[in-house]
Structures are given as C-alpha cells and as structure tokens.
Symmetry: C2
C-alpha cells in the first residue's frame, strides 16, 4: 500500500508546490543542474553497474545506447534544464478576467494539474527531463523508470530530490517508484493522481490505458501516412517518403503507409520503390501494387499495422477522398502528410483527415515538441481531450476560477433583483 | 450491436460535419427553432403521454416539473437556440501561427472534438439544448435521454434531426439511443466516441466513469464548502450561507459543509444556526459544534457527504490553513467559498484550495456557465484534464496542427544542414 499512501500525501502537498513562485522553482532547477554536475562520477558509476547487468543479459546495441548515461548525455540534460529555467512561468497566467456585476469579478488563472504519474522507458535522461518539467510547471510527480536503469535512476533521483527540497520546495513533491508491481498500485490511485503519462511500447501504453481510471495522456499507435497525390512534385515526394520512413524508424511519427494516386502509379511507384529499396525498405502492398513493383502482397486488414522498422505498406487510391477515408479508417489519428502542388487538394486533405497533425509537402517526422518550438516535450497525444499532438509545458497545466465578491448571492439574480452585465476587464 | 456500428459510421462522418461553415450550422439551428414551433402540438401531445405514464408510476412533484415540456419551456429552448446562433464560431480559430523555418509554417486550428456521447436526465429541454450545442460546435452526437420522457424525446429528436439534415448538414450527424441497454454498448465505443458527457445522479455518473475507457467530462460529487473566517463580516456571511445551502439544494454547487473559525464560533454559530433553522435547514456537527448549538452529532468520515437536501454539516477550525486542509481532504474539488474581510487570508484560501472554483465573499451557487457569461453550458467538470469548472462551447472543441511545407525533411535539421528559426506570424 506504499504508493497509494504516498500518492494521497502528495495530493495534499500539491497545493503547496503549486503556490511556489517561478523564482523558487527556477532556483530549484539550477540547484538540480549544479548537483548533477557535482555528483557526476557517482552517477556514471551507477550507470556502469546497469550497463554491466545489461550486457550480461545480452541486450541489443540500440537498447545499450539508450541505457548509457555519459558526459555527453549529462551535458544535454543540463542544457535542457537551463532552457527550462529560461521559459516563461506557466503558472498564474490570467486567462480570463470578467466583471459579472458590480463588485463581482471572475478570473480564470492557469495552475498546475497537481499530481502526475509518469511511467517511462529505461532511459536515465528521461528521468531528469520529466522531473524537471514537473518542477518547472509546479506539479508533483511520481516517477517510475525502466528496471534496466534502476541503479542510475536511484542515484539521479536522490540527487534531484535532495537539491529540490534543499532549495526550498515542499518535501514529498517528488517520489520514485522502484518496484514493477508498484505500477499496478499507481494505476489505482484515481482519487489522488490527476494524470498519467506513460511512455514506452504500444503494448505497454495500451495496458496502462486499459487498466486505470486516471486520465492518460499519450498515444499507443503511430500509424502515419504519406499520400502522394496525382499533382505531386515527385522531386519533393521521394525525399519526404524516405525521411518519413527511415530517418528514425522506431519513432511514433515515422510513416507506415504510402498511399499513391492511381493516375500516377505507373510513373511514380517504380521510382519510389527504387529509392526505398536503396534505403533498405521492404515494401508490402495490395495486388494492384505488386503488379507494378516488387512487393509482398498484403491484406486490407494489415493496413492497421505499425511496423516501426524498415517495412512500408503501399496502396493505390482513386482520389484524395479515398486517401482521407483510408487514413481515417486505418490510421491512428497521429500525423499524416499529403504531397501535392494543388493547394485546394491539400486544404481538403488537411480539413478532412482527423489527425493531430495534418501536413502538406513535408515529412511526418516533424511531429515533435522541439521541432514545433515548444522548448520541452512531455509527449505526443492522439487523444482529443486536453492536449493533442506534441505536448509542451502547457499540457501539464489546468486552470481554476477565482470569483471575487462583496456579499453577492444567487437568489438576487434568480429573482431578477439584480442582473449580470458581463464586462471584460 | 446497433450502437457500435452507428458510432463507427458517425466517426467517419464527423470530419464532414466538422468541415461545415458557421453559416451552414446557424442555418440548421434556425431551421430547428422554426420546426419546433411548427410542430409544437405534436411535441406537447407526446409529452402528455409521458406525464400520464409518470403519474401512474407515482413520481414526485419535482420530477413531474422536470418532465413537463410546455409553451414556457419551448420558448426558453427557442431563445437558447437564437443565442447559440449569435455566438461566435468556435471552429477554425487560429490559436497559433509560427514559421518554423523558411517555407515551413505551423498553425494550430480549433476544431470539433468529433463524436460526443451524451447521457442525460429525463428533461426534454436538455435534449434540445445538448443537440443544438453539438451542432453549433460541429460535433456529431449520440443522445440518450431518460426513459421517463421517451415519447417526448422521440418526437423532439425526429424534428431536430430532420431539420438539421434538410438544412444541409450530413446525414447521420445525430443519433438517438432509445434503449437503456444501449448505454452499456455506448460505453464500449472507445474507438469511435471521443468524449462522454453524463448528466444525472452521482451514482449514475460514477457508474459511467467506472465502466468506460472513453474520456468522461463531468462530475460525480459536489461537496462544496463555505468557510467563515475570524475576520468575516457576519452581515455578508449569513445570507451567503443561506443562499449556498438553500437556493437550490439539488444542485451540485449547493454547499454541504460550513466551516467556522473557532475564535468567532460562540458569537457566530448561534446566529447562523437560527437563520438556517428559519430556512428549514437541519444541522449536523462535531461534538464541539453540538456544545454550542442544537445539532445532530456526526463523525469525521461523514464530512464526505453530499446531502442535496436541507441538511448541512458544521465544523470548527483553528485557522484558514485547517479549513484548506479539510476542504482538500473531504471536498470534491468543485467550488468552495471563504467569507472574510482580510484579503490576505482570502488570497491564501483561493491559492491553496484545490478546486475548480475558489470564491471570496459570495455564494457557491455562482458556479454555472450562464452566470460566468459562457452563454450555454455543457456541464461542470471537476477533472483537471481538458475543461475544468463550468464548461461552455469551448469544452466541445479540440485543435489540430496544420504544417505547411515546401518539401522539408527532418534529416536536414537533424544533421545541422538547416536550422529552425521559430518566428511568430
């Protein structure tokens, strides 16, 4: 019952952290940066233990790279913290100020969400990023990282927590969950945890979404499309497809499906196929596609697939409308791009595709908080509730209504003795 | 399986409704208003059937009043529709416009959420209000009303749906669920329904929240507090308490608990108790309270209780801090008010109480979309995700990111060949 009790305690502490000033939170962030540098040998030593264990368990090179926390990664997270310090205070913004009647003023003020549970992959830099994002936004956080980096996480968390509390932020504002079974306990804290942010594999995120009543921000799938219209500029289309598919195949915003207008298939597909083959991409497609290029035949239902590797589905469509219908049916409402020189067709596509990001003549890989200029990214949401698409600091904020009166009662307005006059201030 | 198939169809139709213009949606709303007046006798006749059935089942006067749909209620909903027509278009607002690099422009554009499921109490006017709010905001809706008004709902829905489709909005943009067992089917449509708005009893809303993966907007409890500080003006405090408790006891924003500063208890409590008794309110309190006034003794745990009738819990506290702690622990994060002449104490209370509405010297009953000047109310949310507090049309909106490129790929930025310059437009 540890996590449940801690979450309850944190919920009651959260208004105190929410009341801290930007100055206090920035001071804590600077202290974190300083202490991380101060204790870097300790961190690297813990990380070596994790890396040794990982080697013994025979993990892949890609995972090894993610686990590793060295001087370079330390510098990157320190730079990130200094960027956060420089960002405007997201807390206490006046979003609305309205006089309802004489002496009765309504204000909508931005404030932290409260208690956020973050369950993230085995990447030590993620722990630093996430905890500092929560501090900057005035949110308490329960952090659970991957077990493969348990030693590094423990050292990092202790340094961060001590720095934050020594700098004057409330005790208990951050908590690390270390046991895997604590995740299930965390999922049941719907009374005290306001938001969950899971990061990791699709199956893992889906598991979280299916097993909690706490609102979840994130995405399970990223089935993104590139649609090459009959009026596409092929010189633009091919590099965009290569980038969208291969620049980082494991990313959620990598393209999985290529849709091609039937009118240009004979001309375009062989060129695209050659470029994709050259980039190491294996193609799969409908019968119609395999009649034109060398590709493995696939069924309609398989268009739901997110490969996350050098494989791409290909389909021909009769027009932009069929492309839109395919995307809305088989996609995951993440990010989809049209390649065309006809702006009317592009506008139609961008209006009708029901996704967080709808792009014209550029790669789906741009769907990212840093590339959107948000400074720091919490994650990417495919939900239509709260934040959608790449989410920056503002995704960690809510607001409250403050109503300043001078003795007003509703009965006077219900009986017509008084009237609202709604004046924006 | 009817609802599930219909919801899936609606999901694919929703981008068409989202693409309609404000003019088209307003035209449909005006047609609805016209047709409702045109067919009023038909509506009243159906309503008589419902009222006759209700009488046979021996329902209370209060419920009878809610079921009734007469000339007065018709006029009110017609007026509401005309107000909606007059509101600014919530769709297509440019919320952000930023040049990421030369020829690469990002826009954040407001758009409808998509498919909304609304399950509401037996009030025919609610069906009209909710369906027209969805039309104005460009959202498809699945509507399920209370079975006690089944006849009225059927006639109203058919009139509204025909008017909307005849006016040119997409077929299938509204759907009425008529069977109670269809609710459970609706709760399972997480792939196609983007948001659920349940209205009704606490137990019912809680049931919905516990049995679906679809995001739910609303609130289960409304345990609202009035805290009378040692520096309160008693002339203000008493009418506010009476209004907050009695002006409409069944409302979620009615006060359930009175907290009083110990320093003024001896002076204030007898006066308050007399006024509340005069208004028919039965008091319950801790031992300390029953020592001062005539009240039923209660236990600490009972402070979680939402009475929704003429009963009020009373407790003494040592200071504003104890009041805040009590509210954050026992309240439902809805709306809480402090009565004091000390603005510093008020500011502290409004900062630290973790509720959607924090009030100073006025009644909790002001927590309402109309009273906040939002024009039309969807409901009141105690969640911190998406909309919080009274929710107007904007609670039915999300946004999408449109990225306009000219052939850009991410690899050029990852390798440093190009750089973002982030210019607000």
């Amino acid at each position: 019952m540890k996590i449940r009790e801690e979450a309850h305690r944190m919920k009651l502490i959260s208004p105190k952290l929410a009341a801290s000033t930007n100055e206090e939170r920035n001071k804590a962030l600077k202290a974190v940066a300083g202490e991380l540098v101060q204790h870097k040998e300790e961190i690297f030593e813990a990380n070596h233990k994790d890396l040794d264990n990982a080697k013994e368990n025979g993990i892949s090179d890609a995972v090894y790279k993610r686990l590793k926390f060295d001087e370079g990664k330390l510098n990157t997270v320190i730079e990130g913290i200094h960027q956060l310090v420089g960002l405007a205070d997201p807390v206490g913004k006046v979003l609305l100020s309205r006089e309802l009647d004489e002496g009765l003023v309504l204000k909508r003020i931005s404030c932290p969400i409260g208690v956020i549970g973050v369950i993230f992959e085995a990447r030590p830099d993620a722990l630093v990023q996430i905890s500092t994002l929560c501090i900057k936004s005035g949110n308490c956080a329960i952090l659970k990282g991957g077990k493969e980096t348990a030693n590094t996480n423990k050292v990092l968390f202790n340094i961060i927590y001590k720095a934050v509390v020594d700098a004057g932020l409330p005790e208990g504002c951050l908590l690390q969950a270390e046991q895997h079974n604590e995740i299930d306990e965390l999922l049941q804290c719907e009374k005290d945890v306001d938001l969950l942010i899971p990061r990791g594999s699709n199956a893992f995120v889906q598991y979280i979404m299916n097993n909690t009543k706490i609102p979840v921000m994130g995405h399970a799938d990223g089935v993104c499309h590139v649609y090459v219209d009959k009026d596409a500029d092929i010189e633009k289309a091919i590099p965009i497809i290569i980038d969208a598919k291969t620049q980082y195949t494991a990313a959620c915003n990598a393209a999985e499906t290529l849709l091609v207008h039937r009118d240009i298939a004979d001309k375009f597909l062989p060129k695209a196929a050659a470029a994709l083959a050259n980039a190491g991409v294996k193609l799969r497609g409908t019968k119609e596609v395999t009649d034109i290029i060398n590709a493995e035949e696939m069924t309609e239902e398989e268009f739901h697939k997110e490969y996350l590797e050098l494989v791409m589905s290909v389909k021909l469509v009769s027009d932009v409308n069929e492309a839109v219908e395919h995307i809305n049916k088989f996609g995951s409402h993440h990010t989809d791009s049209i390649i065309t020189e006809d702006t009317k067709t592009a506008d139609y596509f961008m209006q009708m595709v029901d996704s967080a990001g709808v792009y014209h003549n550029c790669s789906t890989r741009f769907a990212d908080g840093f590339r959107y200029g948000f400074g720091a990214e919490v994650g990417i949401s495919t939900s239509k509730i709260h934040a959608r698409g790449p989410v920056g600091l503002e995704g960690l904020m809510t607001y409250k209504y403050k109503l300043y009166g001078t003795g007003q009662i509703v009965d006077d307005y219900a009986t017509g003795k008084k009237n609202f006059h709604f004046k924006e201030l």
